[in-house]
Amino acid sequence: MDIWASLQRIYAIMAKELVQMRRDRMTFAMMLGLPIIQLILFGFAINTDPKSLPTAVYAEDNSAVVRRVLSAFEQSGYYQLLHKAKSPEQGSEWLAKGEVSFVIHIPQGFTRKLVRDEQPQLLIEADASDPAAASNAIGQAKEIVNQALRTELLGPLAYLQTPAAQIEVVIHKRYNPEGITQYNIVPGLLGVILTMTCVMITSMAMTRESERGNLENLLAMPTRPHEMMLGKICPYILVGLVQTLVILGAAKFLFAVPFFGSFGLLLCGVMVFILANLCLGFTFSTVARSQMQAMQMTFFFFLPSILLSGFMFPFRGMPQWAQSIGEVLPLTHFLRMVRGVMLKGNGLLALQQEFVALLLFIVVVGTVAILRYRRTLD
């Protein structure tokens, strides 16, 4: 009989739990939605052997052999030849901005030297700031060139087909020549930590007031939406800046991450990025009905931020649709900023696109927050 009563109680709790689960739509959506999102992201978007990396070509020589070599790069799948650079400087600029991952330089007289068996050079400049993104493509480069020669050098040129390489492939790893993972991860971590704390803290801002019964009082007093928003956001800018200093200190003293760019410029970028995240958190907070919901929204946002921003996996290795989603996330732009400033020594000119993107994000999200802000209890 005791067991029967106990089973009854277990059943009562189970039934209540199921009813509550069904009423809490957000949790329900999360339980169904998260596995699907994760499956799609991990299954399709993330690629640890990134292919089709954007590549620029600066060719000072043009011949059938050159074209054959270049098309071999393209056919390998690792390199996607997108641009033709007009000067070596232009190629370097693209590399700094992150628009291309590689610049292939074919020097003058390449074909002539090849025919004369003088071992011409083929130069590949690689953005090695993310060692994972570049290493496979770099490793394949020599093989690609040799393969191309083997099929190209026929007929009268067949005598050049010796086991030794007739082309010297010179690889110039820029920004992180030793391929130290920390150099890439630690600056990235700054963005990840700021994203998580800033969005989470402010997403609680309004929900906490309503959950504790303070909202009615707050609304009954003369406060305007923008006053509320700025008042809620500003204290956390300070918190974010303190976090930044701690992480940058650790980057320098614990991990010896180099810092080539301007510290002031980086701080500007950090401010804008913090603001973008705080605005987003505040917007969540005007939409969510409880602190729990605000937490869930933060998590929903955090997951793609980590996976699609280029923090964990090479951004250029993702399919186009995933890159498009990534472009919307503030973290993506911040990573380019922080890595650009620290590892590449980029200036404002190279970063202006990222600044514009973040400011645009702030304007859009901030407007949504002001519009969504409840002036009444309706």
Partner: protein
Amino acid sequence: MSELAIDVRGLVKRFNDKAVVRGVDLQMPKGQVWGFLGPNGSGKTTTIRMICGLLEPSEGEGRCLGFDIRKQARQIRDATGYMTQKFSFWEDLTIRENLAFVARLYNLPKRGQLVDQTLAKLGLTERQNQLSGALSGGWKQRLALAAVTMHKPDLLLLDEPTAGVDPQARREFWDEIHQLSNQGMTVLVSTHYMDEAERCDKIVYLAHGNILTQGRVADVIQRAGLITFQGKGEQVRRLAEQLKGTPGVEHVAFFGAALHISGRDRAKLQSAIQALPKDDTHWQEIQASLEDTFISLMQDAGKDTREHG
């Protein structure tokens, strides 16, 4: 500016098609203390929120202190003090921090001094650095009242300010309300307590989202035309069952050891009493109380809404 502090007409509020307030007209002159009465869910809180611009009416319009309740919510907020039913100040701020926060939001001059004065008046100067969450229910309400009146509003809206507060604290609270009224504040206060209703200049009785009656307490009782007999004796508990449902007996209620039966037809009530088995119960006609009147009004209103669907 009109002489009416509150002048609203035809206020209707629906939540998901469910009407909570169904056409409230209220004209309240300045400088008075009015009681807002009615059972739970009768629409008191919703009406008060519409008056101070916290909820947008589904229908109807009106003015509060001369400002349009739909379009000038900001001006209304500046000039009213609204004390919510549940304590809505910050429990994780100290008493002083709460007052200072409010003073700053309203941009009050000489803030520090004002907060000091308010604390002294409350008798909380020594406890000013305690978290307000640590205060007892009665003290919380007094703190809230002090906080919502710091900016000297013209109109004070109090939503069940004394619910769950002990009698002593309630009396002190009401003394405070009368003091504020003497300073010229208009006060609309909702309550469930009959003794509090009797301290008001006028009462407004709300049920099912409609105003059933309003006026001075004595007028409301008289207008209802209720006749009440009081029975005292050993057997009244048994008699109560018997009297329920007897023609002419509209309602039956205990007041301590005494039984009150009321109705609108004296003759029928008398014959109902006559028909009871003879025992030592002593019956006499008494003045109907406000509570009898309200219960009777509410039952009538209940019948109406059931009949009209």
